[in-house]
Symmetry: C2
Subunit: 269 residues, 2 copies
């Protein structure tokens, strides 16, 4: 019986990380928790985010995960260190993998970060980048209008293009060559953002970079899943399950149909 | 006193990894060993490569490295597991990071690998890719004419273009979108290879990917260097030091002048 990887998020955004784990490491079993009853975490005070994250991790520990992924920028910024001291398995957030990928990518040494007001105010990306490499110049910009666009499913309209162009105006004259999408919602807008920034700017998403980093850490500690059996993933949410299930199936596509999924609403909060 | 990262190679090729460590993690101190007296490793029997690599690691252990990087495809394929069982610090090769980056990158799931005859025959990349993700389709091709071109400094001539085009003919009709440069010499030819393969194919070099993976493992184990002091790097070679020094200075550029370097020929072999 292989031990799963536990992935948690304030809602459905972390499913982007699940999709990447399924793509990059199809042998790994995932258990996912979306705290849809209490989403969004962005506007909440930091200590509340820490408490919610601790509650979810406590719940997931009964499944004996071999690793925990905090697939939410806000929860990573607020709670990563608390969760690390709480459990005895590796805990990976979405900020360090994105920072490391940006450092790998940049030639100019000038890296942009866009995120929610909370993430930008926390300076979490700036700290992560500077801790690895003090020579990196970081330019951060809050884009509070992007999450509502995504939640309306409004990825490619003229309104979206106008909003993205206007929001990112301040970055246009800065010679950055790498831009971190510091919010799990933003990859849905990546085509529009790429168009506004031009092809000379490489966009970094935390979903695939976090899955890759997870792969490194599992392999280094000899904990990669092996053998021919296909994993059975499990999804939990704290809110209304129908909508969550619909979004998850839409996002994870056929792969969900390939593996039985157990839906369950834990008592929490 | 911070502990260094030990990087070793059969010759000068591993300096590409040193350059990336200096770029991505400028706080880390590097000690490098180029076995220039016994280069190349490619045509040697596997057990000899294992013995040489063990000798170099024994030598470098006196400097109490916190991590060992085998920056040579041939030595990684032959000796990675032996070195892992020999020392009690993390040992990173160049094959897993390249494989992981390719899995992260590919959309079609079809990955090409070019390398020396020895590397391709060992199936090391194929094994590494399939271990992580059995769904990846791998196409390998030995390009024995590439190393001589690089050693002649012949990166961008018409002869080089013709040789690269002819050598890679067999890959042209395969719908791969990602190509691993499975030899530390090949990044010197990357412009020509990119021209031949077209912009639809992403090239993966092990130098930056290995440095990035090293960063992940160091951070995960809480062993990243910190503090303001600039590291003093040390370089060793087993052969004639003048040529080695010239190539290292040419490749590592001004950064070598910024930090004192100790040149030393160890008694070995």
């Amino acid at each position: 019986m292989q031990r799963p990887i536990a992935i948690l998020d304030s809602g459905v955004g972390g499913l982007t990380v699940v999709k990447e784990v399924m793509r990059q490491l199809p042998r790994e079993k995932v258990i996912y928790f979306g705290d849809t009853a209490r989403t969004p975490y962005g506007p909440r005070p930091s200590d509340e985010v820490v408490r919610f994250t601790q509650e979810i991790v406590s719940y997931l520990m009964q499944y004996k995960p071999k690793m925990i992924i905090i697939a939410c920028n806000t929860a990573t910024a607020a709670a990563l260190e608390d969760i690390r001291s709480m459990v005895d398995v590796p805990v990976v957030g979405v900020i360090n993998p994105g920072a490391r990928a940006a450092i790998n990518q940049t030639k100019t040494g000038i890296v942009g970060v866009i995120g929610t007001v909370g993430t930008v105010r926390s300076r979490a990306y700036e700290d992560a980048l500077k801790r690895l490499n003090p020579n990196i110049h970081v330019v951060s910009l809050a884009c509070p209008l992007f999450v509502p666009l995504v939640e309306q499913g409004n990825f490619r309209s003229k309104e979206t293009m106008d909003t993205v162009r206007e929001s990112m105006e301040k970055l246009k004259d800065i010679p950055l060559d790498t831009l971190i999408l510091g919010c799990t919602h933003y990859p849905f807008l990546s085509e529009t953002i790429q168009e506004v920034m031009g092809t000379g700017v490489k966009l970094i998403s935390s979903d695939n970079e976090t899955a890759r980093e997870m792969s490194t850490i599992l392999q280094e500690s000899g904990k990669l899943a092996h053998g021919p059996e296909l994993p059975i993933h499990q999804f939990f949410c704290s809110g209304e399950p129908k909508m969550f299930k619909r979004i998850a199936q839409q996002w994870l596509g056929e792969q969900i149909e390939l593996t039985p999924v157990v839906w369950q609403i834990p008592k929490i909060g």
